[in-house]
Symmetry: C2
Subunit: 349 residues, 2 copies
């Protein structure tokens, strides 16, 4: 019996609904494969602000530190978006958690599912077979650099150390080695000093991975190439802000952001969350796609080295997709609810 | 007789070829409408480094300051890309020129031509009718902020003053007023202090433009929305780096980056250049699309307040497109050369 502690942070908007389905699937896995998963729930984001005044309460951080892995729904509430300068905002909870847990690498697979190509804004022949793994640095850059204001100006500092670049680069190289052997570093080395450091460090590390071919692409060109020819990519490595932009952009390839999972890993624990946000307009309507959360749970199983279990979840998702057991954005004619999709996948596992 | 001085900076790669066609069109306009355009050519970029050691020779800057407008081809040579840390690089010429001429606003129209929809990687029904005008701040942000290195780290500073935001915001609001009345500010106000200043300033200026609706979009979401639904945008306003990324990304909408012009305006003079780069692989083959350079020349005419002339050029381009008098990337079966396309447009004006 494998015993693991999982903290669930349902968060805001559709977060709780999709988390519930992911937990349902994890429970089905535990039962079928005879593991013992202990779940504990905690507050993060707008819901945490509402009940404690803090976007990342101390209890939540303690629970995450206690856990073997964290499953997150989504955070964010439009009422805070009106005033991005407000002292307390949901995003601070997520950013604070990433920093506190040392989650320095955000990993996002982007897959074009053949039966869903019609839902993509891109032409099917451009995207069929696309399969990209994005490594986004998550605890450095202008997200966490010194920033400030005086009466006439504002500034943000983007900082990177060799050490910060090195640790995520090794992860990305290893991933490329186990995939198609191509790593693309995306930067703006013709303008940014930090980008030049990224290139330098990646060039050095490349020597240790002779089987991996390394490509360098400026971020403006990468934003274009992702749409023009997504199949040219295997593993993409990039800094925090460029990764934020490119991974959201890449989400259009698959046809629905509701399909895309992510993992954030670091020194101690790891966090798994769907790429989509809290999507407050859909809250409580049963129309949110739980697949991104469920595939995030599959990444969590992989992290526990439960390969077979992770594969079972992915196969079940594939079955839901090919059987058209999908929520309304992917199945207009006979849509299933969030719960129905989750239950189907849990039973199929 | 309107007399104007135009400095031409052919630059590198395909720059000289496309510039030649744009000048041909400007000469045809001068003849037909009885204006007197004086052309003077100067060095910028890799070609300038080769013959003077400097990417932006003093003579070139002096010529640009003397001119009423500048027409630029493209700069950049792959031999400098291998080493982005090299002391002298072609990009420095362009960045230095922008700064020296105070070209604080880069304006890029993105249009989906109906007869060319098939060439876009996006589905025709998503892009038909898309018509976006991007205002990218061009002399601030992390491009020109303090940057540096020590043995273990590198940093770039993104700085914006109220003044820098204010002057480009007015241009963008005026453009929105004369178009469809929607301005979208793209920022990352949930993370960046500079973005919060952008929001604050734009919110204040908005009061002066009651007919313009203002929308705020985070840059990650904008990167997604540009592909999901480009028709939702009218005028986009954003800072330097986000503008670099988003405007290149948006270039895929039209089906060919070879169609997209840009204008960079400032206090004194203005510079016009195609969005595409120096594309060295195509150099000297007669396959480069001159339309982006020619449409840049049309923007130059507009800047001289020669509305009718600018329209004549645009109509001639439209005629070339609808008659399929196009270079190979848009006309595989019976491609025309760079020169043939330019000559057709010059004769049609
Ligand atoms: C909510 C926001 C701060 C966050 C980010 O920019 O990292 C989000 O966009 C993401 O990608 O997880
Ligand atoms: C060449 C490079 C420095 C430049 C930029 O980033 O501004 C280019 O990409 C552009 O958009 O004109």
């Amino acid at each position: 019996v494998l015993a693991k502690k999982i903290v669930v942070l349902p968060g805001d908007g559709i977060g709780p609904e999709v988390c519930q389905e992911a937990v349902k699937v994890l429970q089905a896995v535990a039962e079928k494969y005879n593991h013992s998963f202990t779940f504990r729930s905690a507050l993060l984001g707008a819901c945490a602000i509402e009940s404690t005044g803090q976007p990342l309460p101390e209890d939540t951080l303690a629970a995450c530190e206690w856990a073997d892995a964290v499953l997150l729904g989504a955070i964010g509430d439009p009422k805070y978006d009106q005033d991005p300068a407000a002292k307390v905002r949901p995003e601070q909870g997520l950013l604070g958690l990433r920093k506190a847990l040392g989650l320095y690498a955000n990993i996002r697979p982007v897959t074009a599912y053949d039966t869903l190509l019609e839902h993509s804004p891109l032409k099917p022949e451009r995207i069929s077979g696309a399969d990209i793994l994005i490594y986004r640095e998550l605890t450095g850059g202008s997200y966490f650099g010194e920033k400030g204001r005086d009466s006439s100006l504002a500034y943000d500092t983007c900082t990177y150390t060799r050490e910060e670049i090195t640790r995520i680069a090794h992860l990305a190289f290893k991933a490329a080695e186990s995939r198609h052997g191509l790593l693309t570093l995306v930067d703006k080395a013709n303008v940014m000093e930090t980008s030049r450091l990224w290139r330098e460090v990646v060039q050095q590390i490349a020597i240790e991975y002779p089987k991996v071919e390394v490509d360098y692409l400026y971020v403006d060109n990468a934003a274009m190439q992702l749409i023009l020819n997504p199949r040219q990519f295997d593993v993409i490595l990039t800094e925090n802000m460029f990764g934020d932009i490119l991974s959201d952009e890449a989400s259009v390839i698959g046809g629905s952001i509701g399909l895309l999972p992510s993992a954030s890993v670091g020194a101690h624990t790891a966090l798994f969350e769907p790429v989509h946000g809290s999507y407050p307009q859909a809250k409580g309507k049963g129309i949110a796609n739980p697949i991104a959360a469920i595939l995030s749970a599959a990444m969590l199983l992989e992290y526990f080295e439960l390969k077979e279990e992770a594969k079972a979840v992915r196969d079940a998702v594939q079955k839901a997709i090919s059987s058209n057991i999908l929520t309304q954005e992917l199945n207009q004619t006979s849509p299933y609810t969030t719960e129905q999709v989750g239950t189907f996948i849990a039973y199929t596992v």
